[in-house]
Amino acid sequence: MKDATAIVGIGQTPFAKRLPESEKALACRAILRALDDAGIDPSEVDGFASYTMEETDEVEVAKSIGAGDVTFFSKVGYGGGGSCATVAHLATAVATGQATVGVAWRSRKRGSGGRPWRNTTVQLPTPAQWTRPFGLLRPADEIGMLTRRYMHEYGATRDHLFNVALACRNRANQNPAAMMYERPLTREMYMTSRWISEPLCLFDNCLETDGALACVVVSADRARDCRSRPVYVHSAAQGLPAQHHGMVNYWTEDPLRGPAWTAAQQLWKHADLCPQDVDVAQIYDAFTALVPLSLEGYGFCGRGEGAAFTEGGALEIGGRLPLNTSGGGLSEAYVHGFNLITEGVRQLRGTSTAQVPNAATCLVTAGEGVPTSALLLRS
């Protein structure tokens, strides 16, 4: 698997609170742009991967873009936990000959289309019967519970969470495509903003976005002939830890040791690189608190040190680990983490709006707190 495949095309639509087109039209636009970026004709596409929460399907997308005969298609569960796994599944399929040109995509009208937690009828009895009657209704409540415990155990503060929000916002302020491009954030704004679920405030929560993104995966051999500079899938992993319970991971022995730890073990085991070699990271940020938890899980610091890691500008350009350089889910767009993958590609092509000089390796992670996935990309 190591370096056997590469991402050779990326594409996206605008990001906004409301876009007029359907999710299907947005998906097609993002996919066709990604294929054009790669210089590959849509009729050559024979593999697809997306999220189980994706509402446009392979049948509709394939016939709309004029794909050829499709021989591999896969969907990954657990919301934002599946983002990197879509690329991982394509990489596996291409490396084993199940497909030659794979497309991964996510199209979502989360900005204008309503909040999933408001739907009270489509809820799994497990684990919702143990949480929702008590008013633990939203992802912010579920992660807020773990955040409070994390702060209690390790002395993490709201300033640490602010460091995450600020780094993302600063990068968004450099990225004209970001929803928060012209909206700077100050510590005072953060500290006086309204609560959503204490200890999480408005700026600890990701954006609500309409938009779509896609990328194209081919073999390393094929990648050399593509229009754009290839970005190699050096290592890829999924993670579902023993006795894990999803976002409400309160029933495992150690709720703060999340799926990141499992994915990380697999990711590094198959890599020639270690955390110290990572030049830039795109870490899933539906909530600020997921970043310190992920920094620990992926081995950038020790257990309980993730909050302190964010101090002294560590996550800014020029810091120890520049983070979410397009603005991430907190400040560019929240499309279940797919924009973290495309930004990882831009960094390794040298075309980011907040370019880390000479970036050669990038870690991209999917949602922590749910069965997750991760990619280690290199140029």
């Binding site: 909040r115 937690w117 408001r118 009270t120 809820q123 009895p125 497990t126 684990p127 919702a128 019967q129 143990w130 949480t131 929702r132 009657p133 008590f134 008013g135 633990l136 209704l137 939203r138 409540d141 807020g144 519970m145 773990l146 409070r148 415990r149 209690h152 309204r194 609560w195 959503i196 679920s197 204490e198 200890p199 999480l200 006795q243 319970h245 409400v248 309160y250 029933w251 022995e253």
Partner: protein, 157 residues
């Protein structure tokens, strides 16, 4: 020991949607008993309930009665936007409580000022990780179904 729920049912909240594994928990709750699924073969307690024991893989289980005492493991205070019913109760707290009988068993619930006091009745200043609490039961209803859910009051109010 906990006691059977008293007072009129609280309305407007989501009722539990029990699955096959969880149904006994809610039946016992209606009788004012806090019981946890326990492996009949190796004695390991497990929550949420499931068909077989993750330690010894036995499908035989019983429901052990807990003392109802515990400690606050973590909590949030929910602010709008929220579902109707909850928006009216906001600001309200949600707890995770670890049971004194088995700290590995944790339950989501709410701290209330008294057994018959509504969601959101506990003062925010009373919330503290580690605070000892005990289970009480409150009836909740939606006009068609009547159930009881465990809630929590401070041992030392």
């Amino acid at each position: 020991m906990t006691t059977a729920p008293t007072g009129p049912p609280e309305t407007g909240l989501l009722l539990p949607e029990p699955d096959d594994d969880g149904a006994p928990f809610w039946s016992y709750a209606s009788a004012g008993e806090l019981r946890v699924q326990t492996c009949s073969d190796c004695g390991r307690r497990r929550f949420p309930p499931r068909p077989c024991c993750p330690r010894c893989r036995s499908f035989e289980a019983e429901w052990q009665r807990m003392s109802g005492r515990g400690r606050i493991w973590s909590y949030v205070v929910a602010h709008p936007p929220l579902l109707p019913g909850y928006a009216e109760a906001a600001l309200y707290n949600v707890l995770v409580v670890e049971l004194a009988d088995d700290p590995a068993i944790r339950l989501v619930g709410n701290l209330v000022a008294a057994p018959d006091a509504p969601l959101g009745s506990a003062a925010a200043g009373k919330l503290r990780i580690g605070a000892p609490v005990r289970a009480v039961f409150r009836q909740v209803g939606d006009g068609e179904r009547l159930m009881a859910v465990p809630r929590w009051v401070l041992e030392r109010p």
